[in-house]
Amino acid sequence: MGTSVTLEFEKPIVELEKQIDELKRLAGGQQLDVDQEIEPLQKKLAELRDEIYKNLSPWQRVQVARSAKRPFTLDYLQLVFTDFIELHGDRAFREDAAIVGGWARLEGETVMVIGHQRGRDTKEILKRNFGMPHPEGYRKALRLMKLAEKFHVPVITFIDTMGAWAGLGAEERGQSEAIARNLFEMSRLEVPIIATVIGEGGSGGALALGIADRTNMLENAVYSVITVEGCAAILWKDGKSQEMREKAAAALRITAQDLLELRVIDEIIPEPPGGAHANHETTAQAVHDTLARQIEELRRYKPDKLVRRRREKFLRMGQFLE
């Protein structure tokens, strides 16, 4: 659900960062030159980050993907795009702040950006409902996509949710229908669609923004048919223990590398050493460059060819014997 607490396996990194800060503080106060002492520490820090992030287990990646320190959709809107104006509401029931969207510019050209939005503090987390949308969120997203299509503007989505909200109101107002409608309409939208999983891509609630010409995942993002906890609870009657979560996370093959191998995604966007949260700007730059290049590629296709290729791409998905 997003937490600012330090992750267990990141503690050595945080410790070392503290040491360096302490040294700097001392040096600042007493006009001492401590560069010689700091330099090896910083080298060690870089190595430590590299080492830890290279060897993340799938379950650790889930924790990184959910971290509230990572950049969210609105952060990317600030760092990657210009001239953003947010649009609200599904025109039927209400505004759902778990999905944000609106017009923005990528390298000066207008695009429609739509993404799940999580919160960092309690107030924001509640406002955003943990980034878990109700049907009206998905209907707002579809409204914005149709608007983009009307004005021949590409759609860029950011996926960052544990899943669609499970609750009374969500069911009453047709969570299933809302998600299904998005899959249906996105498969025939006559403008380019690029989807990027920036954190956790949870099940149908993620896919409802995910029928795209190009699908990217950030290096430490995950994308799954069910939450790791849910899978462990159903199969092994234990969604709580570390051991079963590790087992489920590994079994489900949810890392960016896994999805690339399964040919579900097209590209992995690299994160800086220590993960996206270690440096929002570097991460945003990589996202920017990937999106800008992909939009250029996709602009070459006429609408009917674009749609045909998107459909064919999804028709190829899956593995079976014949």
């Binding site: 909200w165 009374l168 069911e171 299933s176 149908g204 896919l207 489900l252 028709l315 014997l321 014949e322």
Partner: protein
């Protein structure tokens, strides 16, 4: 003269002897406890004669129910699930499911005549791993859809599923996109698609093709929803209202066109298809 004559009393057979029916032909309704001979349940399409509780039936039963006698032909019989992720125990579970439920996976794909109309029909089978949707289910429906596009036959899908098949991970999730993309093509070509929901229809199945029908009809009392009742109970921390997520609840909330008794499924679908494909009304159905 007395206008009736008292006849000699015949020795009657003892009642107990007359009703001597072997114990194993009796069945009890899971919902109301009504006890009746099995044949009566079966003649009533496995619907309780007393309370109308719709029992779960197999995919082949639905095909027999929907298609005209002798017209049914099974399609895509060669498709088999594989283990793309190397998921723990999946090959063993598949093997067990094939032994118990047959080798059609969780969907039986057929073509045939429905009330003299050619149709393609896919029926999910809950007996095969809870009707879970993996690559084979998705591929079979997609191919049925493509076949419908080529021949301009209406498509019917009967759903019974707990959702996507976990053991095929994100590939199962992508089947939702795959099938929805084919259904969008059917819609563009104005080929009717009818979705029939049976108990249960939840998760990734309800959040894709189940809710995309030109008409969506459900059997009475089916559990239909995105999240299962257990999950919602967990998020809420309280019990769910009576009748929540049943067919009747969805009808009330505008999510279904109609709740239809099993015995009326075929005629309802026939009527809908005839309206949507510009054909004359069927003859032979009694007006009701």
């Amino acid at each position: 003269m007395a206008w009736w004559k008292k006849s000699e009393k015949k020795a009657r057979q003892p009642r107990r002897e007359r009703l001597e029916i072997p114990a194993d032909v009796w069945e009890k309704c899971e919902a109301c406890g009504h006890t009746d001979i099995r044949e009566k349940f079966e003649r009533n399409l496995n619907v309780c004669p007393n309370c109308d509780y719709h029992r779960r039936i197999r995919a082949a039963d639905y095909c027999n129910l929907m298609l005209d006698d002798g017209s049914m032909e099974e399609l895509e019989v060669e498709l088999r699930s594989t283990d793309p992720l190397g998921f723990p125990d999946y090959p063993a579970r598949l093997k067990k499911a094939i032994t118990n439920a047959g080798d059609t996976d969780a969907l039986l794909a057929c073509t045939g005549m429905l009330d003299s109309l050619p149709v393609n029909i896919g029926v999910m089978d809950f007996a095969f791993m809870g009707g879970s949707m993996g690559s084979v289910v998705g591929e079979k429906i997609a191919r049925l859809g493509v076949r419908s596009l080529e021949r301009k036959y209406p498509l019917i899908v009967v759903s019974a599923s707990g959702g996507a098949r976990m053991q095929e991970g994100v590939l199962s999730l992508m089947q939702m996109g795959k099938v929805s993309a084919v259904l969008a093509q059917l819609a563009e070509r104005r080929i009717p698609y009818i979705s029939i929901l049976t108990n249960p229809t939840t998760g990734g199945v309800s959040a894709s093709y189940a809710m995309l029908g030109d008409a969506i009809i459900a059997e009475p009392g089916a559990v239909i929803g995105f999240a299962g009742p257990r999950v919602i109970k967990q998020t809420l921390g309280q019990d769910l209202p009576e009748g929540f997520q049943t067919s009747e609840f969805l009808l009330d909330h505008g999510m279904l066109d109609s709740v239809v008794h099993r015995r009326n499924l075929k005629r309802t679908v026939s009527q809908l298809l005839r309206h949507m494909s510009g054909r004359p009304a069927a003859t032979g159905w009694a007006a009701s």
